[in-house]
């Protein structure tokens, strides 16, 4: 499962941050997840619990899902594609590599393939709270 790879990446980042900041106990971890990643939160949470070291065992994970926002570089139109517009295989491809949107989506106003992903991709550690 792809969620496991991202959970491993998150735990690894939290360990790096807490070492750097000298934190021995972590209370709260907030994670920003791009909607395009199409992460199954239940699997992601389960993976985090399985992978976390002891000093993270009381930490609460908070998740903030960031809606996808695309902007056409030709006509300037901004839009958020709806998940149900995409077929299952395309959603799965985007789930693995969000930039694959450039292979499957077009600007709904002018039809251009030249657009930016303004928001809605990636998994970001927002903050770690601990002492």
């Amino acid at each position: 499962m792809h969620e496991w790879a991202l959970a491993e990446a998150l735990i690894s980042t939290v360990i790096q941050v807490s070492k750097k900041e000298g934190l021995r106990k972590i209370f709260e971890i907030e994670v920003r997840i791009g909607e395009l990643q199409d992460i199954d939160l239940e699997i992601f949470k389960f993976a985090l619990i399985q992978l976390r070291p002891d000093y993270l065992k009381d930490a609460e994970f908070k998740f903030k899902i960031v809606k996808t926002k695309l902007k056409c570089r030709i006509c300037g139109h901004e839009w958020s594609p709806r998940k149900d517009e995409l077929d299952e295989s395309v959603r799965e491809a985007i789930h693995f590599i969000p930039e694959i949107t450039h292979a499957y989506l077009r600007c709904p106003r002018c039809g251009s393939i030249d657009f930016d992903i303004i928001e809605g991709r990636g998994v970001w550690l927002e903050y770690v709270r601990g002492k």
């Binding site: 790879a5 991202l6 491993e8 491809a93 590599i97 450039h102 770690v128 002492k131």
Partner: protein, 264 residues
């Protein structure tokens, strides 16, 4: 960064971090050599060399991975006739074995659709693939690079600091002019250059060898233009019998020596 909160003297790290970057080293921890097959110019035969090199090493018994990083114009899947293979999902993705090579390409996901990627998108796609792909234990990870010294080269140098570059050129002064810039960039950044292969040679000339020597880069050998190569693309048995493949297979000996890697 100190901050008061409901826990008193807590520490809050408020710098947003891209979590993917923390696992890239881990994903290639058990890969002994990372070789970026690169050139300053397109059309010099990087993908063909990367494919032949991977096949040759795999047939010698080495553990080999091939990562097609030419994300907008991938072609190794055609050379190796990858067809319907798909990565396995197992705590990330595990590349399928194609002719004994662990093979990874964006084409598993983009299929035959054009995938235009600007610089930032290219970097993000590369980081995503590096973060989720489990290569396992390999002697060699061969990276088929896109041409030039833009995003892919800078990203690979930044993300995989122990990458070694294998440079491909044609006998053309035009190709070598761009290769010189690549060599200068890599040298300035203290990146190891394994050597240079002169591909598509059509007449006797020592121009590339003399200039490689001047730049202090090992000349690994020349490969004559092979007019039968085109007909062998997509048929690995035919490809393995081309003069092109046989010559690369010979150069692999030089490459292994250059890497001080004992033949198995």
């Amino acid at each position: 960064m100190k901050s008061s909160s409901k826990w008193g003297n807590d520490v809050v790290n408020d710098k947003l971090k891209d979590v993917r970057l923390s696992v890239i080293d881990e994903r290639i921890r058990d890969v002994k050599n990372v070789i970026a097959v690169s050139s300053g110019k397109g059309g010099v035969g990087k993908s063909l060399v990367a494919s032949a090199l991977s096949l040759s090493l795999a047939r010698r018994g080495y553990g080999v991975g091939l990562f097609d990083l030419d994300l907008t114009s991938p072609s190794t899947h055609i050379i190796l006739d990858v067809k319907d293979a798909q990565p396995i999902e197992d705590r990330g993705i595990v590349p399928p074995k194609i002719h004994g090579i662990s093979y990874m390409s964006i084409t598993y996901y983009s299929r035959d659709k054009p995938t235009p990627l600007r610089g930032r998108d290219f970097s993000n796609a590369l980081i995503e693939l590096m973060a989720i792909t489990r290569w396992g234990t390999l002697d060699f990870l061969i990276i088929d690079m896109p041409p030039g010294i833009s995003d892919a080269t800078l990203d690979i140098i930044g993300l995989i600091k122990r990458s070694k570059f294998l440079i491909i050129t044609t006998p053309s002064k035009l190709a070598f002019e761009t290769v010189k810039k690549l060599i200068k960039l890599l040298s300035d950044l203290h990146i190891e250059i394994i050597g240079i292969i002169e591909n598509m040679k059509i007449k006797e000339s020592d121009f590339i060898k003399v200039n490689a020597d001047k730049l202090g880069v090992k000349y690994l050998g020349e490969v004559n233009f092979d007019e039968n190569l085109e007909d062998a693309l997509g048929d690995v048995d035919k490809f393995s019998n081309t003069e092109f493949f046989k010559r690369i297979d010979g150069i692999v000996e030089e490459l292994l020596k250059a890497l001080a890697f004992e033949a198995q």
